[in-house]
């Protein structure tokens, strides 16, 4: 076989160029920690990584939605607990004052406490989180209750997205919790009734509020249970999302992350063969031929 000088040089250069390209790509991969930097590295993994990152963005957004809903529902739950306390205290007063041992002066004084309870319930009904009223339905910029307990909100129930195509109801409206909308009792009316009965020392009217106040308390308790269920369900959705995010992150790593061990060993190997190719080329260009021996 003839081996002309030009092909010695060409072969060495061709191999060197090929190794150089590979070494440059390995360097870029190792410094970024990613195997897939552009479609050329693995078009299928590239497209997959793009989609998985979309899933991660959506998952993070759902988690953020849940964070916000949980913050509001936690405040809702403690507020409802305080409302239960208010109504329990009112029932306690009604039970006590229905007893004939009290006189008109004592009842008038107690009426003032009931007024405080009424004010308290109005304040609790107007609870805000980040400036938004929790019990106003959609009208979150409006205080839902005035001093007399008249409802100014609406019955809007906001649903929030917790997963693709999954929405859960979040808020409780003040008219349901305290005004008995849809077949319940009006807690404000009861407190007003109790206060007025105490003021005019009408024992029978005081006694008449005991059972309805019990019902109002239960109405708030049911709301608190609903809130608890919603918080639990959000927690379940959060775990699901965390699982999804974890799995997605794993898939993403599988699709685009670099196997450092094999990349570094390949780099060392390629670097070596590049060095060898350079040495060989230097020899060839240095020139050993019969020409130099006959001179």
């Amino acid at each position: 076989m003839r081996v002309p000088d030009i092909s010695l040089k060409d072969t060495a250069l061709f191999n060197m160029a090929r190794e150089s390209v590979r070494v440059a790509r390995l360097n870029a991969q190792i410094s970024s920690g990613r195997r897939v930097l552009s479609p050329i590295d693995d078009a299928v993994a590239y497209a997959r990584a793009k989609s998985l990152r979309g899933v991660l963005t959506a998952t993070a957004q759902y988690q953020d939605n849940i964070d916000r809903a949980q913050a509001r529902l936690s405040v809702t739950e403690t507020t409802l607990a305080s409302m239960e306390d208010v109504l329990a205290r009112a029932k306690e007063i009604a039970l006590e004052q229905a007893n004939p041992t009290y006189d008109a002066t004592q009842r008038a004084t107690i009426a003032q406490e009931v007024q405080h309870l009424l004010d308290n319930l109005v304040a609790l009904g107007n609870t805000r989180v980040e400036g938004q009223h929790l019990f106003a339905g959609y009208l979150t910029d409006t205080a839902p209750f005035d001093a007399a307990g008249n409802y100014a909100g609406d019955s809007g129930v906001r649903s929030i997205e917790v997963a693709d195509g999954v929405q859960v109801a979040e808020n409780l409206t003040g008219d349901q919790v305290l005004k008995g909308a849809g077949g319940g009792v009006d807690a404000f009316a009861l407190l007003t009734q109790l206060r007025d009965a105490l003021t005019i020392n009408d024992v029978a009217a005081v006694a008449a509020t005991i059972d309805p106040l019990q019902a109002a308390g239960e109405q708030v308790t049911r709301s608190r249970m609903t809130t608890g269920f919603r918080l639990n369900s959000l927690e379940t959705h959060r775990s699901n999302l965390e699982e999804t995010a974890f799995q997605t992150q794993n898939l993403l790593s599988g699709a685009e992350d670099l196997d450092y061990t094999s990349a570094v060993s390949e780099l060392v190997q390629r670097q070596n063969s590049l060095d060898v190719a350079r040495t060989v080329l230097a020899r060839i260009l240095g020139g050993t031929s019969v020409m130099s021996l006959i001179g």
């Binding site: 076989m1 081996v3 002309p4 030009i6 959506a58 957004q61 959609y138 910029d141 019969v290």
Partner: protein
Amino acid sequence: MALSPIMDMGRQGISAARAGLQLVSRNVANASNPEYSRQEIFFQSPSQGGVRTWTVRSLVDDFIETRLTRENETQGRLEAERRLVSEAGAVFGSTDTGVEASLSQFFAAVSSVATTPDSDVTRSTLLFQGDALVSEFQREAAALRDLTAQTATELDATIARVNQLAEDIAKLNQAIGVSDNGDGSVGQLRDQRASLVKEVAGLMDINTFEDGNGNTTVFVGGGTPLVEGSNHYTLALASATGYDPYAGIAVITPGGARVDITSRVTGGALGGLIRVRDQVILPAMADLDRVAATLTLEFNRVHGQGFGLDGSTGNDFFSPLNATTTAAGANTGGADVTASVIDTSLLTLDDYEVVFTSAGQFDIQNLTQGTAVSTGNAYTSGMTVDVDGVRLTLADGTGTPQAGDTFRISTTHDQALNIRRVLAGTDQVAAAQDPAAVPGDNRNALALSALETTNLMDGGALTVGEKTAQIASRVGLEQQSVEQAYTAQGLIMEGLNARRAEISSVSLDEEATKLIQYQHAFEASARMIRVADELMQTLLNMV
């Protein structure tokens, strides 16, 4: 035996050795010229003895040369494709950038508004992400458009190079015909011509043959001559005949006519540039336009149904779609078709075509569905026709329509470039379904958010995000397959070049050996003459 033939043979030997030495020096001088084919000298001794004639031959393997020309077409095509397609691939960014990532973030902001519609922060974020999405659409669309412009420049430069090469090959044909006197000097001209032919092959696919007079004839585009003997023809950009304003390639015949050969140029750099432009970049642009148009239409539709904090409704979030008309490049008549959107709710996003079947009649086709909308409509200048929410106005412009004239009407064309966020401010973000239920009503925001997971594209098969991923992955797969083919082609070229070098390139070791050989032959022949001379002297002294 007479002494003079000995002197004569010595003289012939010296001449032959000198010819050999001259050839060695020519070969050595071209040792590093990759186009050069090494030459060998063949001596013939006549029956009466001595060396009288010799011929010089270039060592060329025609089979390998033909293979090299053929493979050079593929190599040239792959080099051009690789360069262009990798630039197209870079447009879509890494795995965490691009329109797809912006779409995810945009819809995350929509979901955030749905969760907290009464917050100015979530509403501002939505507007910000809307702007970011719009600029990402524009960036990708503009980058792809720039690539098509760059392709046009490269086509132009490549055609100029082909024309130069054709001229040079024609000149060499002439020179070779004139100077072939068999001493080997023509061999270098042939090498040069073969090298030019190979370069042309790298630029476009060609067919060549050598005629009886030693002329190389070059055909392009499946049978149109580029070089014939000492004549050559010129290539030029052909004007676009379809709706895309991108040029093809034409041969200018001696009569001055342009023959469009675009569809028959499939190899070399020209073939590669045209293929990537027409089959990778233009489809990606059209798909990106369609994603932007679908998002615009659907998001605006749902957004317009809702109410802002200020009670306003019917507001567009993105700039509304426009209808654009493009006349085919091959149209011969002077009529104009213009179009405008009159009812967004009827829009289909399909492309339509007005086809004049005669000066007085036209058909309307749905290009996307491949169906006829109406046929045999009578044409009068200034008339209007409504098609799926688009009003077409057909009128005489610089002249009347001619049979065969066509116009394309599109509501998606260039939408990825033209898309803007037009919603005035946070108060107009239509999160509410009921104007009385603001600010907490999030029902319309939920409807907007649901668009992310609705299959709006490709006849209900893909979401806008999935379609965007498909655009990037199609270009990516193209890039990967071109890269693999390019690497494989590199090995083929390397192998062929090595085989060509094995036969045709100069080995200095061989030449050194020949140098010594011819030097000794020269000395021996000189010695022969001296010996004959001494013998002659001896004979004369005897007298």
